[in-house]
Amino acid sequence: MIPENYYLLVSAILFTIGVVGVFIRRNAIVIFMSIELMLNAVNLTLVALSRQFHSLDGQVMVFLVMTVAAAEAAIGLAIIVTIFRNRNTVNIEEVNLMKW
């Protein structure tokens, strides 16, 4: 029987890996993939705690988070495609019109 803390630890490590990915990569699509990794870490936390507290609310929440993640992935990728059409790059260092 695995104690619940181990699942939370795995989720924390996955979340940190996602945060590192958002910070150090310059390709917008890879940054987006790191965001999906962070969402997966949160989903794992919710499922582990839902088992610990003998309730299914966590699993329903994960279902809705997956729905939102799918919608967000579609819109985010459409935005990236539009940026690519106008600037011919997905490097975030070259999309800096709003920088001071």
């Binding site: 630890l9 910070f23 989903n43 809705l64 919608a71 495609v81 539009t82």
Partner: protein, 169 residues
């Protein structure tokens, strides 16, 4: 047996995550992310959430990652270029702050046993009735409103994606 599966899936997921953020080729990153999703679905299976593990494989690894791969191939980039001046400083500070976040999370979950109000869906009861049936019982009675709002959200996402992808409005 459960411990062996847990260690295999969790180490696989963490290694997959590290490989996602370190590969130069974005298609390799996407494929390693698919692998990570499969390992996380295995972790859901150990936790007794069979419905969610199948939904994860179908929706995340099957739909979202295919969308990612299409967009990567459409954008058609080669490997990443050499890091610029700003980028080395940014990488250092990014890793330092992420290590800080990781350490904070680690100390929170290391020994803290959460206590709280226990629900009534114990694992034995859920296993007896079937996980999908129990989740459906909660989803369609207690969480019906978020379910319907999620369907409206998906409609908005469809409309938004089509509008953004048109050549002229």
């Amino acid at each position: 047996m459960e411990a062996v599966c847990f260690y295999i899936f969790s180490i696989g997921a963490i290694l997959g995550g590290i490989l996602v953020i370190t590969r130069k080729n974005p298609i390799h990153s996407a494929l390693f992310l698919v692998l990570t999703f499969f390992f996380v679905a295995g972790l859901y299976l150990i936790l007794g959430a069979e419905f969610l593990s199948m939904i994860q494989i179908i929706v995340y690894a099957g739909a979202i990652m295919v969308l990612f791969l299409f967009v990567i191939m459409f954008v058609n980039i080669e490997k990443e270029e050499e890091p610029s001046e700003n980028h080395l400083i940014q990488r250092f500070w990014g890793m330092a702050l992420s290590v800080l976040i990781g350490a904070a999370l680690f100390f929170v979950v290391k020994s803290h046993i959460s206590k709280g109000l226990m629900g009534q869906y114990s694992p034995e009861k859920v296993e007896a009735a079937g996980n999908a049936q129990s989740v459906a019982r909660v989803l369609f009675t207690q969480y019906l409103l978020p379910f319907e709002v999620a369907s409206i959200l998906l409609l908005v996402a469809i409309v938004g994606a089509i509008v953004l992808a048109k050549k002229e409005l």
